[in-house]
Amino acid sequence: MTPAIPQIDPVPLPAPAALLWFLLLLTFTLHVLPMNLVLGGSLIGAVARWRARRGQLHDGELARWIGKAMPILISATVTMGVAALLFLQVVYGRLFFVSSVLMASLWLAVVPLLIVAYYSAYAVAFRGAGASAWLSWLVAAIVLAIAFIYTNNMSLMIRPGAFRAMYLASGSGFHLDTSDPSMLPRFLHVVTGAVAVASLGIAVLGVLKRRADPAFGGWAIQYGCAWFAGATLLNLVFGVWFLASLPSATLLQLLGRNLIGTSLVASGIVFALASMALMMGAGQLRDPSHVVLGAAAALVVALVFMIATRDFVRRSITGAAGFEAPRWVAPQWIPIALFAVLLVVAIALVGWMIAVFVRSGVKARDGKPAPAREGVSV
């Protein structure tokens, strides 16, 4: 069917398209890192809480740590996601708004679902070891449902050829992108990848806790390695399935016809395999700290390449459907400069606040009082 792409707004693009595109990828990467920890972490956390009920001591400690971190990770995911959504709407708004309307009822359901998951995560965090297992499972189930809705929208928005027929069938906003052969492998790839990232996060937690609690630290490294290896091996299957499900023209570009596309996908795979190799090796070492941190760095690089590959695929498919960036560009340089300056200030302020917070924890552990509780005059 002929792609139905809305007309470009009669206002100029407020920045060079390349800058908006770069910020989209940057903010999306910053969103994906905590999002993976939330998605994968909530699943591993729920399993850990279930195992803890069966008497597994370290699982209980792990579940407590994940529960404690979850509200902060959700907050980081939402905060970074806001910026990614903003730049997505500028760069791909004409596709994204349409796909969102086609699945409007489900898309909007993300908001109440997230509120329930977020409050449940706080309940788990506040109750600590006493939190009930079903709350952890509820958080994991909701986060998984949100991931499914997001995958559908991101997958549907690059198929403008399907828009009109779907809208003619129903405008009530309950469409999913189930007719797209790449949607399911994409979802499985994303979820399994998130589990891999979160399990590496657990290994890093083990590295950080190793000195204070050697038994738990060592166990967390081994446990994270095991989850990571399993998830990454499984993801090789899902990744190949996802690649094979792409339109043939795009697939051929990734398999040699386009140098950039091929380099991106190959680099992503190489770094993911390097990360896996390091993690599997880490399990054999007496002090695997540096290797685990190296694996984490390799995984972050792999993630960046995969995000770039995802964008390459999106550009390839939407470009073939006739989607073009606006040619009318009138950069708002002063607001752009103001944004850049304020971003630096924001990073500095957040960095300072985190630093004083972390330092205060070290002081408290060293036996000094926490004066904010003491009513000290200022």
């Binding site: 809305p6 007309q7 009669p10 206002v11 100029p12 693009l13 407020p14 920045a15 908006l20 910020l23 907050s75 939402v78 905060t79 996601g81 806001v82 910026a83 959504l85 903003l86 730049f87 709407q89 708004g93 004409r94 994204f96 708004f97 349409v98 969102s100 309307v101 086609l102 409007a104 908001v111 997230l114 509120i115 977020y118 409050y119 009109r164 809208y167 129903s170 405008g171 009530s172 906003g173 040619r327 009318w328 607001p335 103001l338 944004f339 304020l342 971003l343 924001a346 302020l349 957040v350 606040m353 004083v356 205060s360 926490a370 004066p371 904010a372 509780r373 009513g375 005059s377 200022v378």
Partner: protein, 572 residues
Amino acid sequence: MNYPLWALPAGGLLIACVAIVHVFISHFAVGGGLFLVLAERKARRERDGLLLGFVRLHTRFFALLTLVLGAVTGVGVWFTIGLVHPAATSSLINTFVWAWAIEWTFFVVEIAAAMIYFYGWDRLDARTHMTVGWIYFWSAWLSLAAINGILAFMLTPGGWLATRSFWDGILNPTYVPGVIARTAAAMALAGVYALWTASRSADGVLKQKVAEYAIVKWITPMAVVLPVSLVWLLAAAARAGVPVAEIFGASGAGWGTALRTILRGSTTGLPIAQIAAQVLLAACLASLVLCGIVLARRRQYGRPLAAALMVCAFAALGAAEWVREDLRKPYVIGGYMFVNGVRLPSAAAAAQPPAGTAPDAFSVEALDRTGVLPASLWTRLPAGGAAPPGDVRALAEGAEIFRLQCSACHTVDGYLAIRPLVRNASPTTLDATIRRLAATEGDVSWSTAGVALRTWRNRRMPPFVGTREERRELAVYLARLGGSGSASISAFDAEHAGGAKFFEDNCSMCHGAEADFPFDAKGRSPAALYELIGRLPSINDAMPPLEATDIERRALAEYLATLTGKNKEAVR
């Protein structure tokens, strides 16, 4: 038209529900931030452990409410406006992406500071803790100041309409009073929320302390600043061309007249705006009375009283937002885009796209030329197969035109129902009414800079856009909705043909489109014209009296109502 419409009755109500909940929390997130840090400073300076304990408890409530419900409903507003009004959202994003990006930097600091302030009670020293509190407040307030620019722009875009300049758009005529009004609302809400937390305490001394602090220092000053800033905002909007008095149904200018009209009601203007204004006044009054009761029972007030105050504050803030939205009608972006996504053509002075760019297909003039149905990407008419009979097709097209142009606000039988409005109306009457929904003041071109609207009974409706064919299809569809079961295109055409033929035979030599005195109905109704043509010599003694049967006179009047001199529309 450019985007598909989500089949949700009264989508505007959904936006209102999500937005009002968000605004009620996000304003607290600003005012409450200042309240926390100032209350903490007061407690520390006075070495008041009781008050400090209260501030700590209030911080927990504050963080859980603002970080979760406040932040996520903010995302919810984004989601909702994109779903209900993608065309407007797209325009705003393309114009103000950097305003939102700047606001995001404040948001990042705000969220981080809120978390560290909350968790920092156990870890940070007092000075650092309060510094984090100040960082929180200023980032939250700057976030408000940035978003206010976009909200105020939607009401009064000011110089942006001509210059398309970012700064003209943000620093628009209602920006400053808007920031002051929102800041005042945030401060007052901080007091109201503090009373809610204190009401849960069993300690009478603490209750008294918080009641006196919240009401005397936070709510009472804002009871003065808020109305003053709102009047300033309304005056600035009126100066910028928003017909504030008309919308409230006031017959003349002046605040006394407007206030009296709001209290008494009016048969003209926007009824919902008038009700919202009444709710606003009543809720503010009730809030002040409740504050008085809290002060009188300062050691004993409990949750019911505090909850009642919260409800009144919620109603007041919600009604104020509702009034702001209604002041904008029939625009979603003042002077730029109507609520149904139709744009005004760019003013000649505005920056123009480079050569080769496709012209705007969704401006009033473009849609009048091409028609709504051919221009829309998302019509849901049956395609292919044998063409249905004329009347069946026309009714389906009329329904589709209603969906595309009217359903942004109206439902058939629910919210702002159209059926009662068209009950027992004839297609011809509806045709003439639709044509008069809105026009430019002085019948100037839609692309004239600073164009003002003249709307039917000041109801603040957008103009009908589309071809003459589409208008009569909509009229017939609405007549059917209103109960005229026999309404059809063929009957409409026959009725019109009678009037047109009579005009052609008897009047066109002097009043035809190309004659010396082309006729212009100037928005008069068929009934007014029926009366007028019954006394032609009294209008101009050169005119002969009308010689016609009553049926012919009625048909002529209906036809005349469709004629406009300036637009020289093609009449049937």
